[in-house]
Each structure stands twice: as structure tokens, then as C-alpha cells.
Subunit: 202 residues, 2 copies
DNA sequence: GTCTATACGTGGATAGAC
DNA sequence: GTCTATCCACGTATAGAC
């Protein structure tokens, strides 16, 4: 079996069970390989498998999200193309988020650099679309963070409520989240300082 | 040691390490109790501890979030009061989200009913504030879901990026998320259907 | 490359003394 | 109530045959 083929199956285990829950027994049965065979492909053991899974995710991100986002199509079109990729990757909201599974919990210590990198690359690409649509760079970055944070949160809510509607809604409003020019949300200058809002306002 | 005192410490282990990562050794050292003593307080073992931790969260939610949300103060004030509680509970975004840790991964099967209940109660209370502010019930429910999903997602992003700014931003814009009357976001009737947006638009 | 067999530690859980 | 000691199953990892 090719290493890449195996990694594709490992992804499903890690994102369903998390790093701790991804036992060698499960990784073995998901790939159809015996434990010893897994160690042949991944001499570094479970940690190397986790790393390979994150690399695989980086590839998915590159070809499914970044390329559409960086095209020269209409900004809304680019965002909808990415939304389709996200929708497919998370099986319409029924699959848990790999990044969240690894970012929360202990695995974050192990893979923090990779996770941070993937998130930043994704955020930058999204912000780029907003900038192309004429939005200020600082605001664009915040909107891009909002978009990703909404996707992650929607996946949690979908899992917790057993209802994928919030996920579908977040995807469909992605263009609004990034590109809307509504003054009450667009002008970050009217925003009150977080600390003031929390502790001074009342 | 009182059971409640112990549960308070168990919470920190579960939300830092997740259900699988919350080993008896860690639970033991966090409480200062030996394994056997833990089983004296929680005869059902780890599963009972997990359940007790979720009950504890329900209490936090009730007294820190629901009571302020149901007061008869100004809607914005009520939301800011809740934001302060959330900010404190998650230590300004530095603590992982207990609900997310348990909702993702295997533990969701075990505690799905409790998790769903906590989420629904929280969403209902938030939607109530929006309804009091004159927002249509259906839209209010969606906005409430958005608010919670943003909080969860912000905690993931904070952990992944090692930066709590997104979390602070989400909290500070909570009143906007729930109460804004900006037409381009408020009128859900103008929203395109998710599936259409994703598969038909392009 | 993949297997069987195995080593070794840890995790969950219990018995029984104090 | 809390402890020490112990049990067994499982998790990670390796050796070595094919």
C-alpha cells in the first residue's frame, strides 16, 4: 500500500477520535495494515502519523481552498468555490474538524507550529479575497479570522446539536462575512474596545 | 474533601486534556486524591466524573449566564454581563472549551444528551434577549446559534494561533451579532438557500 | 512490505487495611 | 474517607520470520 493511500485513511481516524482516541488498533483496522506494517511506513510511530495527517490536510487546503481563493474570478465566486470544498471535506458538516481535534487537547503542544501555519495560510488567503474586493487590510484580516472561526464553531455546534443546519448557514453567508459593506459591521472604527465594552460599559 | 470541591478541579483536567486525555493519574493529582478515593466519590468511575463535570458546567451556565440573560435590564447590558462571565470562565480565551472537548471525539456518544441540552438552554436564553429587542423569533434563534458558534470557534482559533484577540473581538461584538438591525444581515428573507448558493450559483 | 509474537508501560478499576 | 497494593486489559512499540 502506498503511504499516501494510508494517510488518507488515517485522517478519518484522527478527526473522528482525536489524537488520544486514535489508537494503533483503530489506525490498524482503518488502513487494513497490521501494527508492525504501520511502523514500517511511519517509523516515528503515532506522532509521525499525526504529522503526516496534518501534512495531508495542508495539501487538501492548498488544492481545495487556496487555489480557488487565489484565482482571478469574482470574489464572491472564489468564496463559494472554497465553501464547496469545505462542505465536501467535512461531509456537509457531519465530519468533525481535524484542526479543532488537534488544536484542542494535548496534541496542540506536539503540532502547534504546523497547526498555526495551516491556520495562518488559510486566513491570509481569505483576507486576500476581501482585500481584492476593496476592503481595508486590517479589517480583511479580522473578517478572515471570523470566517474560519465560524466554520470551526459551526462544526462543533453541528456535532453537539446533531444538526448540520448551522454549518450550512455559515457556509452560505461566507461572502457576507467577508465582503459585506454594511456600515454597522464594516467600520471597525466604530467598535468599542473589548476591555471597555466588558468591564467599563456596565 | 467535598464532592463539589473535587468536581471543580476535575473540570480543569477534562477541558485541558479532553475525555480520553483525562487519565485517572491526572484526575488524581489534580484533586490530590488517590485513585481509590476518587472511586469513593464517583463509584461509576471516569464516566461518572465526566457526567459530574457536565453537571457542574450546567450550574455555571445557570448562574453565570442564564440569570443575567433573563434579567429585565437593557438587552445590550444583559449580553455584556454574559460576555463577562464567558470571559472569566474561559480565562480571557486561554482555557479550552469544555463543551467542544466533550462534543468532539468519542465522549459525545456518552454525553450527547447532556451536551445537547446545555447548548439548547444557552441558545434559548440568548434568543430570548434578541426577541426582547424586537427581533423575529426565527432570526433570533439563528443569531443565538451564531453567537455560541462564534464563541466556540474563537476558542479554537485562540488555541491554534496562540492569540486570544479573536476571542476578545467575538465577545465585544456579541451585541452586534444578536441585535444589529443592519438590513443586509438582519433580513434572513434575502438569504439565498445554502444548497443553491453552493451548487447552483457557480 | 506484511505478518505473528511479544515486551513493557500505563489506564481503569477493585480489595481491603486504617 | 483515604490510603497501599494489586489486577487485568489495552496501548505503544519492537523483534524477527516470511
Amino acid at each position: 500500500m502506498l503511504r499516501e493511500e494510508a494517510v488518507g485513511r488515517l485522517v478519518n481516524v484522527f478527526r473522528q477520535y482525536g489524537y488520544e482516541g486514535a489508537t494503533l488498533a483503530r489506525l490498524s483496522s482503518a488502513t487494513g495494515l497490521g501494527k508492525a506494517s504501520l511502523y514500517h511506513h511511519f517509523p516515528g510511530g503515532k506522532e509521525e502519523m499525526g504529522g503526516a495527517v496534518l501534512e495531508h490536510l495542508k495539501g487538501k487546503l492548498e488544492f481545495g481552498m487556496l487555489i480557488p481563493l487565489r484565482s482571478n474570478a469574482d470574489p464572491v465566486e472564489r468564496l463559494l468555490a472554497m465553501a464547496r470544498s469545505v462542505d465536501a471535506f467535512y461531509n456537509h458538516g457531519q465530519q468533525a474538524c481535524l484542526l479543532a481535534m488537534l488544536a484542542l487537547g494535548e496534541a496542540n503542544d506536539m503540532f502547534h507550529t504546523q497547526i498555526q501555519h495551516v491556520l495562518n495560510v488559510w486566513i491570509d488567503a481569505l483576507a486576500g479575497v476581501a482585500i481584492d474586493a476593496g476592503i481595508d487590510a486590517t479589517v480583511a484580516r479580522q473578517r478572515a479570522e471570523d470566517a474560519i472561526l465560524q466554520i470551526q464553531g459551526a462544526l462543533i455546534l453541528a456535532k453537539g446539536l446533531g444538526d448540520t443546519a448551522p454549518f450550512q448557514r455559515v457556509l452560505s453567508t461566507l461572502p457576507d462575512t467577508l465582503l459585506t459593506t454594511c456600515p454597522s459591521l464594516a467600520d471597525s472604527g466604530t467598535r468599542i474596545d473589548p476591555c471597555q465594552a466588558l468591564y467599563k460599559a456596565r
